[in-house]
């Protein structure tokens, strides 16, 4: 089999540095550490990137994908809006604030970015089925991308997910299996399925394709920097589920600096969790460098991973960059969804309520510099988590169609 992963030339263990050939493997044989793509980049220029398509493939020379990736059937995600959030900034007392709004992706969450990498890896390895364990958004991104790529799909979710996420995962076809348990139970199930003949020739986006899949989150870093005018933000607030996205955004910023595409300016990375599932925040505040798993209980289901695999790296990055990790309650999440919506016209899912809620909390507690250029991520669409604001899911008044009736409500 001849593999074409573009600039990616191998896999390396993030923990101990052991090197492996490109393949559908995800854990180091020496230490169980996570494997990630290792690259030999050619010359990459701003001009070459700027002349690329208005999606993540403008960064194909920085990703584990073949050079002709844009010609293949895929979802072409990315290049979502970086919204200048002047109203929200004024409300919170932050001088310069942007929202990176990833609800604008094809299946309305950032997951389309990572799944696009997994599709190319599945094609490379000759897999026939695309699969995942999912807190919801990933399941829909996988079934949609599989449909377009002509792959089979079989995805696994906790059975109690939001209705909209279940519908989104079903409508594209393929098999959707609800597991009685939490995401961590689903993840464990899939980890065992992968070693079984039942899962032969299956690509699990976040397991055996993870070294490729996870790289897709780097495109958030690339886009934010390019959209700021080839500059790194001074502060960024990123949600934490498994911690993979935060870890890869940091990797993306570092690559841009190493390749000379942006100036080497300091940035602080802040992680955001829901109080009902805050193992990383708890470890950060306690000064630990390992994460004790928890059983999640929060409305922010897309972040409800009680045993976050990249938690230790999140702690390292938050401390190295001078950022932090903070959490907010479900009530603060709902308030933040409404604040963002009323200030900027952006309807975030609960994960966006978490990041905006944490932004507010960091500002109020003085952990954030209100004078510094700040970016906050919204990674999904509020239409998928309507239950969170169900109290507001009704008209402010119901009247007869008469002016008098309306006047009486004013």
């Amino acid at each position: 089999m001849s593999l074409d992963f573009g600039p990616a030339v191998g896999l390396s263990c993030r923990e101990c540095g052991a090197r492996y050939p490109l393949g559908p493997s995800f854990a180091c044989q020496e230490c169980f550490g996570p494997l990630e793509a290792a690259y030999e980049f050619g010359e990459v220029t701003r001009a070459a990137i700027e002349s690329g398509p208005a999606n993540i493939w403008r960064y194909r020379s920085l990703l584990p994908v073949p050079a002709d990736v844009a010609d293949k059937p895929n979802m072409n995600p990315g290049w979502t809006k970086l919204v200048r959030a002047g109203n929200l900034g004024r409300a919170l007392g932050i001088r310069s604030l942007h929202v990176k709004d990833d609800s604008g992706n094809p299946t309305h969450s950032f997951k389309d970015r990572v799944v696009a990498m997994a599709v190319e890896a599945a094609r490379n390895f000759g897999f026939h089925t695309l699969s995942c364990s999912s807190t919801g958004n990933l399941a829909g991104a996988v079934t949609a991308a599989a449909a377009r790529a002509g792959l089979e799909a079989c995805v696994f979710i906790p059975a109690n997910l939001e209705q909209a996420k279940i519908a989104m995962a079903r409508v594209f076809g393929g098999r959707l299996v609800g597991i009685e348990g939490t995401y961590d139970d689903v993840n464990r199930f899939c980890s065992e399925l992968i070693g079984d003949p039942l899962g032969d020739k299956w690509g699990f986006t976040n397991i055996n394709l993870r070294p490729y899949y996870a790289e897709g989150s780097k495109t958030l870093a690339y886009e934010i920097a390019e959209q700021l005018g080839w500059r790194l933000p001074e502060q960024i607030i990123i949600p934490i589920a498994s911690g993979s996205q935060l870890t890869k955004i940091d990797k993306g910023f570092k690559e841009l600096v190493a390749l000379g595409l942006v100036e080497d300016t300091p940035y602080k990375i802040f992680g955001a969790q829901a109080a009902g599932c805050s193992p990383v925040s708890t470890a950060y505040k306690a000064g630990h460098d390992v994460v004790q798993p928890v059983r999640p209980d929060t409305i922010a289901k897309s972040l409800a991973i009680g045993n976050p695999a990249d938690g230790p790296y999140v702690l390292d990055i938050a401390r190295r960059t001078g950022g932090g990790v903070e959490d907010v309650t479900d009530a603060e999440i709902v308030a933040a969804i409404k604040l963002l919506a009323s200030a900027e016209g952006i309807f975030a899912e609960t994960a966006g309520g978490v990041t905006v809620g944490v932004l507010k909390k960091l500002t109020e507690t003085g952990q954030l510099d209100p004078e510094a250029e700040t970016v906050v991520l919204n990674t999904g669409d509020g239409l998928k988590t309507l239950d969170a604001i169900s109290g507001d899911a009704r008209p402010t008044a119901v009247i007869k169609p008469s002016l008098d009736a309306f006047r009486a409500t004013v």
């Binding site: 854990a27 550490g33 990933l138 498994s242 045993n307």
Partner: protein, 91 residues
Amino acid sequence: MSVSVRIPTILRTYTGGSAEVSGEGATLRDVLAKLDSDYPGIGARILDESGKIRRFVNVYVGEEDVRFAQGLDTPAPDGTQISIIPAVAGG
């Protein structure tokens, strides 16, 4: 006390390809010690130099992640299934 131990793909080189082997011991610590004597070297893949479970390994006794129970001192009753699984991210 006999238990069964599920072996992840990357450790099956130690077990001659077996996905599940039988083990013995009153606690997880004892089971892992016996496993290492049956399949020399496998213990050092699961435990670090100080004898703690490596940070990217999840071990379950029955349905319970042992970090919710008593870690290596978690009892391993007769007939229990123990699973050793690499940590994976996702969402």
